[in-house]
Subunit: 339 residues, 4 copies
């Protein structure tokens, strides 16, 4: 199979991860990296002398040998860059969150469809062994009806200069939620505050709680914070049959599947007394390959085959739509937003 040629725009923290994984991949050929900062270009020249380091986006967009553009720039620039890339006939792989507004996201989705190009959003967690396993268990019906999803994504820093903790951290949970559960929420509310950065010109919320309610009664809660003394990465996913505890900090035993539950038994004399059930707990072995590499390979395959990726533009849109609702809720002190 031939490789596809790609260019990366943005050689910051995440851009460097993209470079490293593109280099490892057998399915993409990284031909150019674009960044406007000299230091970033020097990094590329020193460490990857074989890759073209360019300062202008046009150099990549106008290069007819390049099939796809990977965008790893600040969120505010995603929409313009992705649009320009699509208009130049390039497939697009864009960092999360896909855009700042749902309107922009939808515009990109439509443009890609029109141009018959792949629009992919980098919801990296979806490509981890852990999240794949959770999706797999849910798809097989192991959990029964899904009831709740509770996530904690906490640590000390890194406070971002330009986006709040919801756009930076909670977006991961929203992307996982979008992947494992097919419904869309009907209400959204968000509570957050800025304690450290409220003194600076651009304050951003550093700790946030998000509540989502779905038509089926399923509820989700996400707690994201840059102000926790300890790192937590924990999800509880409850079903009517089984429940999952996913602790991403554990080096290997990340997922525990509990065959536990509570039921009513209407054949009993006291049908109102709940019956508690505790069975075995399973810690499934997980695929440990690097998520970003799997994702890049998957993107390359979809580009070649003209098929949608697992986290396509519409998935990006659905996540941005919730982010937007969170921002509205925050603006009104945590008001309930009905979608």
């Amino acid at each position: 199979m031939s490789e596809i040629n790609v260019a990366i725009i943005g050689a910051g923290y995440w851009g460097k991860n993209l470079i490293r994984n593109c280099q490892s991949s057998q399915r993409v050929n990284l031909s150019a990296v674009c960044d406007s900062r000299e230091s970033a270009l020097n990094f590329v020249k020193t460490n990857y002398p074989a890759i073209k380091a360019v300062s202008r986006v046009e150099d990549a967009l106008n290069d007819s040998n390049i099939h796809a553009i990977l965008i790893a720039t600040p969120t505010a620039s995603h929409y313009e860059l992705a649009k320009a890339a699509l208009l130049s006939g390039k497939h697009v792989f864009v960092e999360k969150p896909m855009t700042e507004t749902a309107g922009q996201a939808m515009e990109l989705v439509n443009l890609a469809k029109e141009k018959n190009l792949i629009l992919h959003v980098d919801h990296t967690f979806v490509y981890t062994g852990a999240v794949r396993k959770i999706k797999d268990l849910i798809s097989k019906g192991e959990l029964g009806d899904l009831r709740y999803f509770d996530s904690e994504r906490l640590n000390l820093g890194l406070i971002q200069p330009d986006v709040n903790v919801i756009y930076d951290l909670a977006v991961h949970d929203l992307s996982i939620l979008n992947y494992i559960f097919n419904e869309e929420p009907e209400t959204v509310s968000a509570f957050a505050n800025s304690y450290v950065t409220r003194q600076r010109e651009r304050a951003v919320e550093e700790s946030a709680h998000i509540n989502l309610r779905y038509p089926s009664g399923f509820m989700a809660h996400i707690h994201a914070s840059w102000l926790s003394p300890v790192k937590f990465r924990k999800m509880l996913i409850g079903g009517s049959k089984k429940m999952i505890v996913y602790n991403d900090i554990e080096p290997s035993e990340k997922i525990k599947v509990y065959d536990h539950g509570v039921d009513l038994d209407f054949s009993k004399e006291t049908p109102d007394d709940p019956i508690y059930r505790s069975g075995d707990v399973l810690i499934p072995n997980l695929d440990r390959s690097e998520a970003l590499l799997s994702e890049i390979n998957h993107f390359a395959d979809c580009v070649r085959d003209g098929k949608d990726t697992v986290t396509n533009g519409y998935d990006g849109y659905k996540v941005v739509k919730i982010l937007e609702a969170c921002s509205k809720s925050l603006k009104y002190g945590g008001q309930l937003i009905i979608l």
Copy 2:
């Protein structure tokens, strides 16, 4: 010091704990236990032959030797029983939540004041070594300005027949919050659902999230659930100087005090870049005496000295006021309630 004579109304699960601790206490003399159920009275007669077991509340209220009444009946009856006891001239020790409505709570507070009697609400956690230590650290200014409080109180069951998980479990967190932090919230919202009991006549919410916002910017979040496969009892309390992780499941190392933080330094060239600080962590040794016994002794001392207890009727009122706001929010799907 002479003992005070007390009677307990209600010999159910918690009533039995009260009986056992009254028996251990050197400061109270448990002279009667009242319960309408024959099985409960038999339990008392068999195990505590020296204590009067009576079926009518009046037998205790009319006994002029009895100084105080301890009420451990279902929540719905607290108001009537406490009122009757105060009107009979008895001091009152009542289970949490103090009443069903804030109006009832305030009425009891006023009645006790009028009658010059002690009205005490059993917020047991306030008397644990762990919560005492947290209060102590906050009072000494060790944490700096309080920023957030996040609590998880989760396990599998026991689903209550008559009250939801907020009235049963989250009430503990609200009582702790009321004790350690002096402000009153300005907004309350609650999200909850009933999954198991929605099929029975009396459905109760089994999993809930509560968000509280305070005038100073302090925020609190409480997650209470009867549907978690694993037991969690964890609180994060964040201050501008230090932060606490309180894990009540740990047998001895319950509290960790982190000398960690994030600050801006306006004397720097890049004042907008947060500075992360990680110092030592202290696990303070805690008083391990049984909380309920300490509380009963404290109540007896206050009755004797005519002084308010640490968790008096007004504290009970403040907690019930939030519970009431939660119920309103739930009724409107999680709407923000402005107090």
Copy 3:
């Protein structure tokens, strides 16, 4: 089924547990408790007025209504008391370790056989859900060939007045080992020291390491200590197919069964390169009934049916034999004892 009548000798810490469980059991009738200390007799009279409290052992041994004697006295008296009980025609249930010397143990075994009486040693851990499950997994061949057993039984105190930490704590591990693994060790060595009590008249070893080697190559190591700042109760049991981590401090997830291993594959080009295998981990649900109650019921059943118990006198003998070898090794500074 009729109950058997029993008497307990010794109403100290463990004796009280025996009393409580005999009272709970439907299969034994506790008719008398014997202790020479007035305080212990008063405890029985106050709390269990229906049970005869006697000060002389003969009162129990000569009572023809009593079928069995439960001995919960200091180790040094086990041999004499058990012998007297057997000679009086009583079945015997004796605390661990069964006797001080292997010779005494064997004498009791022979005497019981001769008299056709049940001689049972109280290796309580064998009756826990956790150890039962481990035995079950091993018996079914799930672990493959057993390779090693490593146990840590550490905490701060309680230093015993009369026996060292091997006789007090490691004896539990030896009894578990004897139950789950059928071989007898061919070498024993023990390393221990007395740090705190070496200043008092009767010094006892407070921290000890025991190494056991078995004919098949199986090895066991036990670390027992009264001088650890933290409580540890951990066992690793390794087999050629699977391995178990048993953490007795965990409230419910005590046993983890790892489908992990290392193998050589002689069909490969590089047969000397080990192949590492990591599969799922299973946390089996465990029977949580109280071990001592199950054990007392089992003893009663065996007395009635004239069948040996699962931890009979010969099991007691085998454990004492290893304890004796440990003492010899200690005497010579940790010398290897070949059995």
Copy 4:
């Protein structure tokens, strides 16, 4: 300060770590890497084009610009290579264990002294923030008299082709022990077995227990294994005043200092009853800089200043002496070796 010029012999797993850290260091200039394997040389040429890649050791030894040789080859070759380097007038930095026999180690120590050259052994753990902190606490007398050291260093693999688990893993614990505690052991015993590799030509012990007794009564135990399903890296260090639990798997809270203890109080009526003391627990903040880089910088400083390093040849000798005693003990089935 001028840099010192160094050459590395051996570009395998650890050699690559040395290369990377020498490149990071401001105090050494890595001028050559020597390896006999073409693949290793190609790795150097591709990734570090500025460094000379040579296949013959002589090329490095005869280069008069090179001040020091870093040896990262298999253990069996350490002695010959270090000797040749010293004889060529080069300072030496050699991997652990320094040599195969204590005799060889002592010969190198003497040769270095004679030649006035630095002989340094790479006991990397000594340069970690955690071990440094432990040493610091002990030196300040915080722990009181040292009583015991118990270490667990367990995981699944990597079984070495040429050395057993004592030479591969336990050597780390011996180097730490040698650093934090000044005595030398008077007895050594080791118990080990080969389960997986006993079928291949060169069997190596895969799981081992080592016991060390010291003149002062201090005892140490090391458990090292390649056959544990789970990774453990835990040390308990007990003193008469305080005790340390060092869990190297914890990402940040590696060390806990317990102000716990047991004492006798001879002023009491019952002086034989131990008194248990539980105070606070401290988790000190640790220096997180990379140990190997600190070590290389320290080595360079000592070379320049003509001073012994913290882990000099004599420390290497003392560790090898214990390894040798372990091998003797193993040969005789775990016999006690009196040094």
